[in-house]
């Protein structure tokens, strides 16, 4: 990840959403993007120019545009028409963004367009967030990474964020994912936990270099 004087940036053409520029790089604001918040909180996230990414809950394409600066290509899935209008505009200018208007709950709909990806990134405000992530696992390469931005308030407002988080981690682990790190984004976003997992490291034939400690 590119840091200039402690500020997270990405290399690309600016002016997507009025972001600041720093020495020709686009400033990636942790208050606007949960992925940036995760990186700023010291979690080592690998984004490189060989990677394919499936991004669920692409919204207006703000974070997508930064991810696209780092990686080879991004499959950006969004369901709602209003943010999709913005996402299409981002895809028109960024040749490595593929905007898919579909429901992440029904991966079968966009499966015929999918190749295997190295990173599955999910940021959706649904009550069945974990289920959605698991449904989309067939797209993830063995040894690939899942980053789940868990919006605890969307899962169940009656439970405390900790309860929601605990049962979510259990669900992920029983599906063969090993949880590498958990970070509460409290400094930047309230009641959000970022869960980073490795797929298949538990023994389904993937690499085990990042297994949980």
């Amino acid at each position: 990840m590119i840091m200039i004087n402690g500020v997270l940036v990405s290399a690309g053409k600016g002016g997507v959403y009025g972001e600041k520029m720093l020495k020709g790089h686009r400033v990636w604001d942790p208050y606007r993007s949960k992925l940036a918040a995760l990186v700023m909180l010291g979690v080592d996230i690998d984004l490189n120019d060989q990677m394919k990414v499936l991004y669920l809950g692409a919204a207006n394409g703000t974070t997508v545009s930064h991810v696209a600066d780092y990686v080879d290509s991004v499959y950006a899935v969004e369901f709602a028409p209003r943010p999709m209008q913005d996402l299409i505009e981002v895809a028109r200018r960024r040749k490595n963004v593929i905007p898919i208007m579909a429901d992440a709950n029904q991966p079968g709909i966009y499966a015929p367009m999918m190749e295997a990806v190295d990173l599955l990134y999910q940021d959706v405000a649904q009550s069945n967030q974990v289920e959605i992530a698991l449904k989309n696992l067939p797209f993830l390469k063995s040894g690939g990474t899942l980053i789940l931005m868990l919006k605890t308030r969307s899962v169940d407002v009656r439970k405390t964020p900790e309860e929601v988080f605990k049962s979510s981690v259990e669900e992920l682990e029983s599906a063969g994912l090993s949880v590498d790190s958990v970070t509460w984004l409290d400094r930047y976003q309230r009641d959000h936990a970022a869960i980073v997992c490795t797929y298949g490291a538990g023994g389904v034939g993937g690499s085990s270099k990042k297994s949980a400690t």
């Binding site: 028409p81 895809a91 208007m101 190749e115």
Partner: protein, 285 residues
């Protein structure tokens, strides 16, 4: 056999799908994929089959196709007319707020400029007050009051437009409770489709969410009506039967919403029966 957007692959051999983006989109929507047997596609293979010259070419085609499909879906969704009606209703509500706020402020300003003035004993509503303030010629206050007045008249125009459009988009609901109330309900539901999926009990308390959740949390009396109260048969009903009338109206509205969504045309027989039922409920003590 795996079916992909660019063609079918069977044990290494592939058949490339032909045609333009419209044909590819049609093909894509006809493919049914089961996630249990799904194998991710390989871009290399798509290129070897001759679908694309190289990877950039492949992604170029895929991107173009996805943009086309998304644009068409958005146009379809917005083309139903309910989304625009929804924005018009919200604009109307915002205009009401702004007009009230500005009128209040202008009144306070006017009172300072005219120390001897009072609204008491003059039965002076906001509209009359505004016309009084407008007489403050050659001052910025008078000019601003004129602007507020103009906004009031565009608000009236917008309201008529909403009614007219609701008659087209929500013919059955509009026939039951009038275009404006029908449009307000649909807008609160978040769209015609969402509205048509709501049960009568939800429609009855749409717009009374605060009272409803207070009721669920602390057991205060449940709300009898939300937006539906704005309909004359509900607010004119005698108190003892108001809840009953509200429930009958909501029940018939939920059927009407489904007719509006799935058929999209006025059903006179249904309306006649429903009106009678609602009127009957109002009569029984």
């Amino acid at each position: 056999m795996q079916y992909y957007w660019f063609g079918d692959v069977d044990e290494g051999r592939c058949t490339v799908a032909g045609g333009d983006y419209t044909a590819l989109a049609e093909r894509l929507s006809s493919i049914v994929t089961s996630m249990e047997t799904f194998i991710p596609l390989s871009v290399e293979q798509a290129c070897e089959c001759g679908f694309a010259a190289d990877a950039p070419d492949y992604y170029g085609h895929l991107r173009k196709l996805c943009i086309n499909i998304a644009e068409e879906k958005i146009a379809d969704l917005y083309g139903q007319g309910d989304m625009e009606l929804l924005q018009m209703v919200r604009m109307l509500d915002d205009m009401d707020n702004v007009i009230n706020l500005l009128t209040e402020r202008a009144t306070e300003w006017y009172l300072i400029k005219n120390p001897g003035f009072s609204r008491k004993y003059k039965s002076m509503n906001a509209k009359k007050m505004l016309s009084v303030i407008k007489r403050e010629r050659s001052s910025s206050l008078g000019r601003l009051a004129g602007e507020i007045d103009r906004m009031v008249s565009s608000r009236t125009t917008l309201m008529k437009e909403i009614s007219g459009r609701a008659d087209v988009i929500l013919p059955n609901c509009s026939a039951l409770v009038g275009g404006l109330v029908a449009a307000r309900l649909m807008s609160r539901a978040g769209g015609l489709e969402q509205f048509s999926r709501m049960p009568g009990s939800t429609i009855q308390v749409l717009g009374a969410e605060n009272a409803l959740f207070t009721h669920i949390r602390s057991g205060s009396p449940s709300p009898k009506h939300g937006i539906i109260f704005q309909h004359r048969r509900v607010h004119n009903a005698p108190r003892p039967v108001r809840g009953k009338v509200s429930r009958a109206v909501a029940g018939k509205l939920s059927i009407a919403a489904r007719l509006d969504y799935f058929r999209g045309e006025l059903m006179p027989e249904f309306i006649e029966k429903a009106q009678k039922r609602i009127d009957d409920v109002g009569l029984t003590e």
